[in-house]
C-alpha cells in the first residue's frame, strides 16, 4: 500500500489540484453540476489507463506534444463554450463533456507518465 502511494505522487498531486480547482470553479447549473464532477473522475481513470498503455511505446517527445495539444485545445474550447453559450442545447453539452473529459484526462495521463518514469 505504501509503495502504491509513493509510486503515484504526481497522480495524487494532480487529484489534490483538481479538488482545489473544483472548489473555486463554478460548475454548470443544476444537476449537470453533479454529472460534471463524476465525469472528472471517469476522465482521470481514462487518463491513467491511456498512460499505462502508451508508456514506453511511443517517442516521449510525441507524447508530450500530444498531451500539451490536448490540454490547450480542449481547455480553450471548453471554456469558450462554457462562457459564451448562455443556454446550451444537448449537442453543445455533449461537446462540452467530451472536451472536459479530454482536458482532465490529459492532465492525469501526464501525471501518471511522470510517476511511471520515476518508478524504480
Amino acid at each position: 500500500m505504501w509503495s502504491f502511494i509513493t509510486e503515484n505522487k504526481f497522480v495524487e498531486g494532480m487529484a489534490v489540484i483538481a479538488a482545489v480547482v473544483g472548489l473555486f470553479f463554478s460548475a454548470p447549473l443544476g444537476m449537470e453540476g453533479y454529472f460534471q464532477y463524476g465525469l472528472g473522475v471517469v476522465a482521470a481513470f481514462l487518463g491513467i489507463l491511456v498512460a499505462n498503455r502508451i508508456y514506453d511505446k511511443y517517442n516521449s517527445g510525441v507524447i508530450v506534444a500530444v498531451i500539451l495539444a490536448c490540454i490547450l485545445l480542449s481547455g480553450f474550447f471548453y471554456l469558450y463554450l462554457f462562457y459564451n453559450i448562455d443556454t446550451p442545447g444537448l449537442p453543445i453539452q455533449i461537446l462540452e463533456g467530451f472536451l472536459f473529459t479530454l482536458f482532465v484526462g490529459a492532465f492525469f495521463c501526464a501525471a501518471r507518465l511522470v510517476d511511471r518514469s520515476f518508478a524504480p
Binding site: L29, G33, D86, Q93
Partner: protein, 327 residues
Amino acid sequence: MRCASVFFAIPFFTLSYSACSADDTPPQDLHPPPALTSDVTVNGKFRFGSDAETYANGTWINHWVCNMDDEGLVFVWEKARLSRPTGNPLPKGCQDDPHPVGKVAEQPDYDAPIRYTQSGRNRSAAIYVPDTTASPTSGGGAQQAQPATDPNVNPGTGTENKGDGAQGKINGNSRFRTIFLNSDNIPTPIDVNLDLSVENDTLNVNLKVEPSYLKVALGSMGWVQSGDFVANVEAIYSAAKEKDLEVLVTEPTKVLGSEDIAWIPNVSKTESLLLLSTGKEVFSSEIGLGLKAGIGATMHLRTATLFILDGDNGLIGTGAYSALTPE
C-alpha cells in the same frame, strides 16, 4: 482509487429546486408592500421579482422569474428556491413559487443573488422573507407603514383604478422599485427611471421622467446611520441652483391633497418630502446633501418611499426604493 476519493470530496454547490407553476406574464402586484423587481438584459433577457401579498386567507410571499427571451433560461435562485438546470431551461414564460407565511419581515433579504447562464453569472437580488420573530397569532396582517386602503381603489372616490394601458416602472442597475398606479387618469406610458446612491457624502440622483411634467418626491428616507435631510435644506438648494433643478423640501400636507394623503404610508405623512421637478424632458444630476456636516460619519441610503406626481401635484403612483447592497 485515491484520485477518485479526492474527487468525491469536492463540495457540490449546485442545487435543484422544483418549479411550482408556469405562466406567460409576471404576477401582478396587487397589494403593498411593493414588489421587488429587476430586469436582466445582458446574457439573457428576463425579469425576476419577489412580492408579498395579503389576501383574505393570509399573507403570501411569491418569488418569480419571467423569461422574455425566445432562448431558454437556466438559473439558480437559491434563496427563492427557484432553479432551472441546463438540461431543462425555462422557456419563454414565468416560473414562480407562491407560499403562505405568517408575516413578512419588515426588511427584505438583500443578499439573495440569482445565478444565470450555464457559467453561473451573478446578479444581486432581494427577496421578501417571513418574519421569524413574529408570534404565530400576529400573522396575516397588513404591513406597517403602508396605506390602509386598497391600492386598487381610489381612496377619494371609491372607484376602482383601471391602470389599463398605463405602465409605471422605476429602473436601476442595482436597485429595485415598483410603483402602484392609483389613478385611472394617467397619461400613458409613464416612464420613470430613477437611481439613487450615496457616495462621498453626496446623494446622487439620476432621474429621467417622461412625460416631463411629472415630478418625483422622496419621503421616509431610511439611512443606515440616522440623519435628517431637512437639516440640509440649504445644501440642497445651493446644489439645485447649480444644477438648474427644481427642488423643494416640504411637508406632504402642503403638497398633496387629502385624497392623496390617504395613500401614502403613515411614516411618510409626518416627514418632509424631497420633491424633484424635472422641468425638462430628461433630468440627470447629482444633489449634494452635505450629509457629513454635523454628523461626522458616512451615510448610506437604504430605503426611500417614492411618489410620482403629476403637474398639479396629484399623486399618481407610489413605490419604494431600496439599496440592494447592505451596509
